[in-house]
């Protein structure tokens, strides 16, 4: 069991470059050069460029989604125990809080989040499929929780508002603020806690708007 180095170097560097340049625009030669490893090591350790993408996303998303799931389950359990509807704000917080906390933990984490943010609507099949596979299950649970919190909304209206919500969240995630030089259309110089609070208020107001 040697070389935990090479694999980690590749994952870290891929995470950064995929976020900054996009998946297809990242060349394995640049990637391996920047990671300080040999070109062939990507295929040796991961099999293919595509598998590397999966590994990059899975490494971060697995623990992150576990936290989000736990938070959501707590909200749902508490609401059920009290015999009331789950609160929209609590659900949003359970979903977003781990994301923002993770974002703050390191610039690498920040890179990853902007990579994920962009994946929601990536035209590239590879990225999109990977994202669907790894992120969709938890998101569907999240949306089913929200649905229960908003039982009076027409189903189509609910789906539409869910789309708006996804857009807002991904816009924030794409904005890597003080991070790297990734391209976000608008960069808001607001500290992360305050930005999350504002996002919560914005989304709650939007979701609960009169139909």
């Amino acid at each position: 069991m040697a070389s935990p180095d090479t694999k980690k170097l590749l994952l870290d560097c891929a995470e950064k470059l995929f976020a900054q340049e996009g998946f297809h625009h990242t060349s394995m030669r640049v990637l391996t050069e920047q990671a300080g490893v040999n070109l062939a090591s990507v295929n040796y350790h991961f099999g293919s460029k595509e598998n590397l993408l999966y590994a990059v996303i899975e490494r971060r998303l697995k623990p992150l989604n576990k936290k989000r799931l736990r938070g959501l389950e707590v909200v749902m359990r508490n609401a059920a125990a009290s015999g009331v509807l789950p609160a929209v704000n609590d659900l949003l917080l359970a979903f977003l809080q781990p994301t923002f906390a993770f974002r703050l933990s390191s610039s690498a984490a920040n890179n990853f989040i902007s990579l994920i943010g962009r994946s929601w609507n990536d035209p590239d099949q590879t990225v999109h499929n990977c994202f669907i596979k790894l992120a969709m299950p938890l998101f569907q649970y999240f949306s089913s929780c929200l649905r229960q919190a908003l039982p009076n909304l027409d189903e189509l209206v609910f789906q539409a508002r869910l789309q708006f919500l996804v857009g807002s969240i991904s816009a924030v995630m794409c904005d890597s603020s003080s991070g790297c030089n990734a391209n976000s259309f608008i960069s808001v110089p607001l500290d992360e806690d305050e930005k999350m609070n504002q996002l919560l208020k914005f989304l709650q107001a939007g979701l609960e708007a009169p139909q």
Copy 2:
């Protein structure tokens, strides 16, 4: 002055493929083959692939932005004449209504809108620069109008909410619904008029939420 055909064939086909596959992932060989023209005609008529992208976006965005500008100016003028603040809802409508109307006009237009929707946060420098150049001026005017309609919002909070708004709008634009096979994370089977109304309500509620 022959061959208005070739240029138009290229523009139409590029619009479709750029939207479906992304700019970098669209090869000039596939593009020209699908358009039924010679490979070299792209460079002959447009100079480069990048220039083709500019031409594709400019062709549609110029008239679209003209309509949006006129609508916004009307709202601002009326508000000024009445000595009241411009209404958030009126501004949103002036910005969004031409977009939705255009989207409905043809499947080609639909393709274009999803291309634009994706460009807001495209990691690709070429696409991003093109988008900044062609779409930013009007957007900045739009945001300055919104700012005047929401004078009591803290500046940073306003910027954050603007980012959320951009996210929601681009999510809707990316969703080419009944159109092509572009990848949108969530596709909402709501007719366009109703979806625009819902987007308006969602955004207005979010923008005017208590700070």
